[in-house]
């Protein structure tokens, strides 16, 4: 069964450093998403992406965040200058073009900012 994959599974970085989180969505899916989950809290939507541009973004997705689909398979989330409060689990998801847009999630990347 096709699945969303994410790398790395765990990333440790120093405050102020840039990080890139990578995702490979399900191959025939057209819509891509990033979410974050701070430990012990609910999952929060960051951004969605369709047709090579941002479709929707939340208030959390400020100028320090960017997304890119650099080739036909990868979907990346870049955090330019990490802060301590960026420590969280980051989930990538993808959906196809059926009306319900059911989102299938990857296993997540745990980001730790020191």
């Amino acid at each position: 069964e096709p699945e969303v994959t994410q790398t790395p599974s765990h990333q440790v970085t120093q405050m102020g450093q840039e990080v890139i989180l990578r995702c490979v969505p399900i191959s025939n899916h057209l819509y891509f998403y990033w979410y974050r989950q701070i430990l012990g809290q609910k999952v929060e939507f960051l951004v969605s992406f369709y047709n090579n541009e941002i479709s929707e973004k939340s208030e959390i997705f400020d100028d320090q965040f960017s997304v890119e689909r650099p080739d036909g398979s990868n979907f990346t989330l870049k955090i330019r200058s990490t802060k301590l409060e960026d420590s969280a689990m980051y989930f990538c998801a993808s959906s196809d073009s059926t009306p319900d847009r059911t989102q299938y999630f990857g296993p997540g990347t745990r980001l730790t900012v020191l």
């Binding site: 609910k42 939507f45 999630f105």
Partner: protein, 116 residues
């Protein structure tokens, strides 16, 4: 803005029994989708079941079923014959069906404990 409320931070059930997890939501839309996701200790988000708001029939997936009350804006999950592998966080989520790439709005989750 849409909100999703899960009022039970934690629920406990004996193995093989039935448990119901509650979820309410607030929206001004008439067409939308509702989902339950399971998050085991591995923290992977796994789709359990989905419901289209325009369908009156409650969705069912094996031991999992929902009670969707559109007028009350309620969307509860019933797990029958609970198994140890059902132990996890369960998140209720809402999505507007506007045809775009809408993000999911999640509730805070319910931690389900299965007693052997």
């Amino acid at each position: 803005a849409q909100t999703v409320t899960q009022s039970q931070p934690e629920m406990s059930v004996q193995e093989a029994e039935t448990v119901t997890l509650s979820c309410t939501y607030d929206t001004s839309e008439s067409d939308y989708y509702l989902f339950w996701y399971k998050q085991p200790p591995s923290r992977q988000m796994i789709l359990v079941i989905r419901q289209e708001a325009y369908k009156q029939q409650n969705a069912t997936e094996n031991r999992f079923s929902v009670n969707f009350q559109k007028a009350a804006k309620s969307f509860s999950l019933k797990i029958s014959d609970s198994q140890l592998g059902d132990a996890a966080m369960y998140f209720c989520a809402y999505s507007f069906s506007g045809g775009g790439a809408d993000g999911l709005t999640f509730g805070k989750g319910t931690h389900l404990i299965i007693q052997p």
